[in-house]
């Protein structure tokens, strides 16, 4: 038992060595959010998650699940089925994430049109603006 949380290293999330930030970096990750989202609907097998979360490669899925398991957010259980199967479940700790992850999804869905509108406007105006008034121009190659 190491005694590394007797001195909490600066309660400042913006400091590079803040432990809170390590946790944050893990949770604020695109695949994490999607995978936790799926697991909120109940336990899933590896292949089920792979098919549900479109576009995730087995390498990244495996890695993300192991990281989540490491942090105590999901539990990995080996079922003794005919072809060996593995089931992933949210731990009680992981279930707490539902309340903070679903607002993200909801927000994204609610403001989708605003955001895509802004994007189009930005891209249209792109060529006309000079973002570097203190620099002449990027030199032509």
């Amino acid at each position: 038992m190491t005694e590394q949380h007797i001195a909490t290293p600066e309660r400042n999330v913006y400091a590079a060595d803040c432990p809170t930030r390590q946790v944050l970096d893990q949770v604020a990750h695109k695949w994490t959010v999607l995978i936790i989202g799926i697991l909120c609907e109940g336990p899933h097998r590896y292949g089920q998650i792979a098919r549900a979360v479109e576009g995730v490669s087995p390498r990244v899925l495996s890695r993300t699940l192991r990281d989540l398991e490491r942090d105590g957010l999901v539990r990995r259980e080996l079922l003794n089925a005919s072809p060996p199967a593995v089931e992933y479940t949210l731990t009680p700790l992981g279930q707490g994430l539902e309340e903070i992850i679903s607002p993200i999804r909801d927000w994204a869905e609610r403001h989708l049109d605003e955001i895509h509108g802004a994007r189009e406007r930005f891209d249209d105006e792109a060529g006309q603006q000079d973002r570097t008034p203190w620099q002449r121009q990027k030199p032509m190659p």
Copy 2:
């Protein structure tokens, strides 16, 4: 004006081409969360953000801010100061993110000890477990 949101392509965040997921990928990003967090405290100049968010490189900061601006979440304003200065401010749309981003920080802070405890336990048990009962062992190099 393209008319691409008349047919909403599958209201399924888990589909690769879902527009909600594009937004999600942007918001659920470690630097985004930290930068928005800083901007929630008020307008900041580029250098202020760079110093506040420890460890972010100018390249990534610049890129992230431009992406946020593109999505209409922050506004970039050129101040006419002696050495030209730039101020970044949350738009009303971006301000809405405070309510969903601060819960993430709070959650991470609240469950920090649990998570780090789980991590230590996992790392300790690491060598002893056999995670692949359907495979013998990884071949020794």
